[in-house]
């Protein structure tokens, strides 16, 4: 637990609003998931839908959508990629995104640009920890496990 009870992993990569985390896998593959901050502000997630494996998604087009309460919206995507795998456990039990946001990965993505180049647009390590904590404080986000 890191800030306001929100879990953080310095080895992962994050967008500048800390909505998603990315993990580098062998090959040009990234795993994407929701951060603890995202699941906390979304509330209990009732539905998740991921585009089919094989689907190409340009940067800006979401790889997945979620629904909590009556809110629906995208899990944002910032890289030009093709979905290569979907976490079936999360599809079947969306609440895993609330219970274990860093364990409950959503999809694996094949990235259509050099991985180092893509990851340079994200934050990681201690810089990410500082930003993550700042967002939790600024938006008064307290993480709990749904």
């Amino acid at each position: 637990m890191d800030c306001n009870g929100c879990e953080f992993h310095p080895d992962l990569y994050y967008d500048d609003e800390y909505q998603v985390w990315l993990r580098r896998e062998p090959g040009d593959i990234l795993t994407i998931g929701m951060t603890d901050l995202s699941q906390a502000i979304a509330g209990k997630i009732l539905h998740v839908r991921v585009r089919r494996p094989g689907t190409r998604r340009p940067a800006g087009k979401p790889v997945a959508t979620i629904e909590s309460g009556k809110w629906a919206g995208p899990v944002p995507n910032f890289v030009d990629c093709t979905i290569v795998a979907v976490n079936e456990a999360v599809m079947a039990t969306p609440a895993l995104l609330n219970q274990d946001p860093f364990g409950a990965w959503i999809a694996r993505l094949e990235v259509h640009e050099p991985l180092d180049q893509a990851l340079a647009r994200f934050v990681t390590g201690e810089a990410a920890r500082t930003g993550y904590r700042a967002r939790a404080e600024r938006d008064d986000i307290h993480c709990g496990r749904g």
Partner: protein
């Protein structure tokens, strides 16, 4: 005094569902891109049935009935369940920044907006109140349903307001088993829904409804209202593109959920306080209780506790039914005569136990 933030007010008039859905996407995406200001939109619909973002049309609607009756079918970009819309209702929508209301918590944002909307409806002379999570009601009867969508830091939150409403017409659009359309079932649905015409004796003029809502939002959020006649040029361009995608079978009939049964399970429970009947609509593929209905001749005060309990049990995983019932009664002040929370739990369990064993296995399997 610091200068107030502006809230643009748009009235896009009576439109086809596809146009209204395309406008939802347009205004949300343009807001996210910085091309749209904070906006309050009023909208009305030609007769249509709208499924929630993650629903399957065939599972929720009587498609043949809609086609015969000329009722458009569309998919919302917001979550929640299927609804029927016609010119007897008015829609209101807010497009804001996630931090506009000083919180990023989605539940809190919904509550703040719904409370402001309820204040607006009260200005028309009815005692409207917010009912968690997403309804506005008058004396326990729903008058406005709401839901939201987000995209990055932009949010869109929308609600319906029933000015005049035909419950039977709604029930015939939704996929509810034929035997549930009995006079009694229709009467029961009517008890749970109300509208301004019924409450006020006549429908108030649309302009008055709009100004009451707009003024309530302006006061609650401390903003200046800026009425405008039309979309800005960037929004116009975006709208034309969004309409092509949304006014299509690909958008409307996309399948989001594994196909599964949605049985209506029923049970009767005799307890010292009286006879209790319950209906449970179960999403078998996900093992989630979509909705429950409870009726009976027992005594409680306030009587509206029943509808509050029903509202709190929407979308409850079967495994969490007991916890949710306890959580509800722990927080709710109600006086009951020879009746306990266990009775409610029992009647709902009994309904769930009436599941076809074969479909129970399939449901468990699909839920992983």
């Amino acid at each position: 005094m610091s200068e107030k933030i502006s809230l643009r007010v748009l009235d896009t008039g009576l439109r086809r569902a596809a146009e209204n859905m395309a406008l939802n996407r347009t205004l949300l995406e343009c807001h996210q891109a910085g091309d749209s200001p904070h906006t309050l939109r009023f909208l009305r619909f030609e007769p249509c049935a709208l499924v929630g973002f993650h629903q399957n049309v065939e599972q929720e609607l009587r498609v043949d009935h809609c086609r015969t009756e000329g009722i458009d079918i569309q998919r919302r970009i917001t979550g929640g369940g299927a609804i029927y819309f016609d010119p007897g209702q008015i829609g209101w929508e807010l497009y804001l920044d996630r931090r506009f209301l000083g919180t990023a918590d989605m539940g809190e944002i919904a509550r703040r907006i719904c409370e402001a909307a309820a204040d607006g409806i009260r200005r028309l002379g009815v005692d409207a109140r917010y009912r968690p999570r997403n309804d506005i009601e008058v004396d326990g009867r729903k008058i406005s349903g709401t839901g939201g969508a987000f995209d990055g830091n932009s949010i869109m939150y929308q609600g319906t307001l029933l000015i005049d409403f035909d419950v039977e017409r709604m029930l015939r659009v939704l996929r509810i088993p034929a035997e549930k359309l009995s006079d009694k079932a229709i009467a029961s649905a009517r008890e749970r829904v109300t509208n301004l015409r019924e409450l006020l004796g006549e429908p108030p003029p649309l302009a008055r409804v709009q100004s009451a809502l707009a003024e309530a939002f302006a006061e609650a959020f401390q903003v200046d209202l800026v009425p405008e006649d039309d979309l800005n040029p960037r929004e116009q361009t975006h709208f034309a593109q969004a309409l092509v995608e949304i006014d299509s079978e690909d958008w409307v009939y996309q399948r989001h959920r594994p196909a599964g049964g949605m049985p209506l399970l029923e049970a009767v429970h005799r307890c010292p306080g009286g006879l209790m009947r319950a209906g449970v609509m179960l999403d078998e593929a996900r093992d989630i209780i979509r909705q429950v209905w409870i009726t009976g001749d027992f005594f409680m005060n306030p009587r509206r506790m029943l509808v509050d309990l029903e509202a709190s049990l929407k979308e409850t995983p079967v495994a969490e039914l007991e916890t949710n019932i306890h959580r509800f009664f722990d927080a709710y002040r109600v006086e009951m005569l020879m009746l306990s929370r266990e009775d409610f739990l029992q009647v709902l369990r009994k309904a769930l136990d009436s599941r076809d064993p074969a479909s129970t296995r399939a449901g468990t399997h699909a839920a992983g």
